[in-house]
């Protein structure tokens, strides 16, 4: 046994030495991204073309990203915050401008997409992917019921009671209730928030669940008739069972989200990072990624290359009139406490 232990010790020591002698090859790039949020082939293609080694690490949400970078994690070059998180990170001086106007292909970015308050011209970061939160609907179970409004989840018909799943997410679900009541998704008016709270309290007994994972599967299986769900994930589900489910954007408006590609202030590989920004600006690369993500590309020149099935889906690529009904979640600063209070009251029911 002792011999075995010695061997284990020896192996461990070797492992440390190996891990410490990491190759410092010229040309490396470190991405820090949401999980499953970039087509892995794009990274291998980029390496083939440029010789730059790419590492990819993942975080689960904006808050984790912020916690990690704010506490001083270094070594990463490019991060992918949501627009409101870009504002927060800019205010905390964690980002450096990319200078998009100097990059080849910058004219491909469509100006109509969401802009961070701190970046009104899309110069500091590059819009990466956008989508919306709507309703994933089981066609058979909603037969004969019109699903085009938030009313169907906040004031459901008898047939759907107990078959509705809403997101367990403070900004998404209170946001939807605010929109249903005709208010802004970023409202901080206590009266409006109280109205949203009462809407949710009244509807909650008719909901089967509040969750943030696996909604797609359960709508296909018929566990839920309607699920409050994100467009990209919903599109993947619709792909697998197009005859059973569809994705709908309620007419009152929806929460639109967008993630941007940003360069960290502490980035060690600025040159390589800029090369990667230019690579991602290419229409064929942007289209490949958007097709893989089932997401919306902010790249005008990539649109002709988007899969027809995605492009012809009005819930994924809405016309301009519908796009105007998208409301972007903003950073609310201290006022988020009001929301948290409302959320606690709702959840405690």
């Amino acid at each position: 046994m002792l011999k075995k232990l010695r061997l284990a010790g020896l192996i461990s020591v070797c492992m440390v030495t190996l891990s410490a002698s990491g190759a410092f090859a010229a040309g490396k790039l470190a991405l820090y991204n949401w999980s499953i949020y970039i087509d892995p082939e794009i990274l291998t293609d980029f390496t083939k073309e440029t010789g730059i080694d790419v590492t990819l690490d993942n975080y689960g949400n904006n808050e984790e990203l912020l916690a990690k970078i704010q506490a001083g994690a270094t070594g990463y070059d490019i991060v992918f915050p949501s627009v409101h998180m870009q504002d927060i990170m800019t205010q905390l001086d964690l980002l450096q401008p990319v200078g998009l106007q100097d990059l080849k292909g910058h004219e491909n970015i469509d100006d109509k997409y969401f802009k961070a308050k701190t970046d009104p011209d899309h110069q500091n970061c590059m819009p990466y992917n956008w989508g919306s939160t709507g309703l994933l609907v089981n066609k058979a179970m909603t037969n004969g019921i019109e699903v085009n409004s938030w009313k169907v989840v906040f004031d459901p018909p008898e047939a759907l009671k107990g078959k509705i799943a809403m997101l367990d997410d403070v900004r998404e679900t209170i946001g939807a209730a605010l929109i249903y009541n005709g208010y802004s998704i970023n409202s901080t008016d206590p009266k409006e928030l109280a109205a949203a709270r009462d809407t949710i309290k009244k509807a909650k007994p008719y909901w089967a669940a509040m969750l943030t994972d696996g909604v797609g599967d359960k709508v296909v299986n018929g566990d839920f008739a309607i699920g409050h769900w994100w467009s990209g994930s919903a599109a993947q589900t619709v792909d697998t069972a197009p005859d059973k489910v569809e994705f709908v954007l309620p007419k009152e408006g929806v929460n639109g989200f967008q993630e941007d590609m940003c360069l960290l202030k502490s980035a060690p590989d600025v040159k390589e990072a800029k090369a990667f920004f230019e690579y991602m600006l290419r229409p064929e690369v942007a289209a490949k990624n958007a097709n893989w993500l089932r997401g919306g590309t902010p790249n005008k020149a990539a649109l002709p290359l988007i899969d027809a099935a995605l492009k012809n889906n009005p819930a994924l690529y809405p016309d301009d009139a519908t796009f105007k009904t998208f409301q972007l979640v903003q950073d609310l600063g201290d006022k988020i406490r009001l929301w948290d209070t409302v959320w606690t009251q709702v959840k405690a029911e």
């Binding site: 046994m1 999980s35 499953i36 990819l56 689960g60 001083g72 070594g75 696996g214 993947q236 089932r294």
Partner: protein, 288 residues
């Protein structure tokens, strides 16, 4: 007729029922996970559509243990591709676990012996401080370690995760080995010295063998704790050093591939084997 024990029959039955329920409560979820890791359905993980080894094969292939022609996944589904990062994270977890546990076992054992034998000023305060990493919440330890490392300029990577893990695992080892030392019969060492053994020889031939079950036990305990740790690894990992728990934690919030079930089952198997091994090695060499 005297009862052999003070429990009534009904009390014993209740206790037995409680044990079974507890066991079920603990292991049923794991059993379900094991069953569904063989589910062929790649769209809806919880709908049974046939038996397959495919997810395991995929994991093994990702780890580079086997190579085979992978069938193309239908429709290039983004949620269902074999992610090379999964394999990298498994390798990182193993490297971090074995390295940190080894170093922590050496440091912790020596600390325990020092605390048991040496006399120095502030010993009790020191003993209390050694316990601290076990007591304070992981998140405090994680953030504090990260801030400390970034302020003295240690780059984040595998090294920083190993350092952070070594730090708090050493405490566990100190406590386990210390407990063994406290219960050890000093007469054996005295006898060895009495028979003319050099102190070093006494240590090697008497003390160390007596401590060995605790040392090995604490090493394996450290290994399992390291494999299991999410919070500290999350904060201290850097570029390319994501460990498996950190990977799973970020992946689970989006769509999850059934491969994750297979990996989870493999982790359970490895952890359980380690625990069984630990229990077998904990046998006291002096008690037949």
């Amino acid at each position: 007729m005297t009862a052999r024990h003070s429990w009534s029959r009904r009390g014993r039955q209740a206790l037995k029922a409680h044990l079974w329920l507890f066991f079920l409560f603990l292991y049923l979820p794991i059993a379900i996970l094991v069953v569904y890791s063989f589910n062929a359905n790649d769209v809806s993980m919880m709908t049974w559509s046939g038996f397959t080894f495919d997810w395991y094969l995929r994991v093994f292939e990702n780890l580079g243990l086997i190579s085979r022609d992978m069938p193309e996944i239908a429709s290039g589904n983004a949620q269902l591709y074999s992610d090379p990062n999964l394999a990298i994270s498994v390798i990182n977890t193993l490297i971090v676990g074995f390295t940190a546990s080894t170093i922590a076992t050496v440091i912790g054992t020596l600390t325990a012996i020092g605390l048991d034998r040496a006399r120095f000023f502030g010993k009790n305060a020191y003993r209390a401080l050694v316990m601290l990493p076990i007591v304070i919440p992981d998140i405090v330890l994680g953030i504090a370690t990260l801030i400390f490392m970034s302020s003295i300029g240690i780059p984040l990577g595998r090294f920083s995760v190993i350092a952070a893990h070594t730090l708090f695992l050493a405490s566990y080892v100190t406590v386990v080995v210390g407990a063994r030392l406290a219960g050890m019969d000093r007469k054996l060492e005295e006898a060895s010295a009495d028979l003319g053994a050099h102190p070093l020889a006494t240590f090697r031939r008497v003390t160390l063998p007596l401590l060995m079950p605790a040392i090995i036990g604490s090493y394996l305990l450290a290994l399992v704790i390291s494999f299991d740790d999410l919070v500290i690894a999350f904060f201290t990992s850097g570029v390319g050093s994501t460990t498996l728990p950190v990977y799973l934690f970020s992946a689970i919030k989006r769509n999850v591939s059934p491969e994750i079930n297979a990996v989870s089952v493999l982790i359970v198997v490895v952890s359980m084997s380690v625990v069984v091994l630990a229990l077998r090695l904990r046998r006291d060499p002096l008690v037949k």
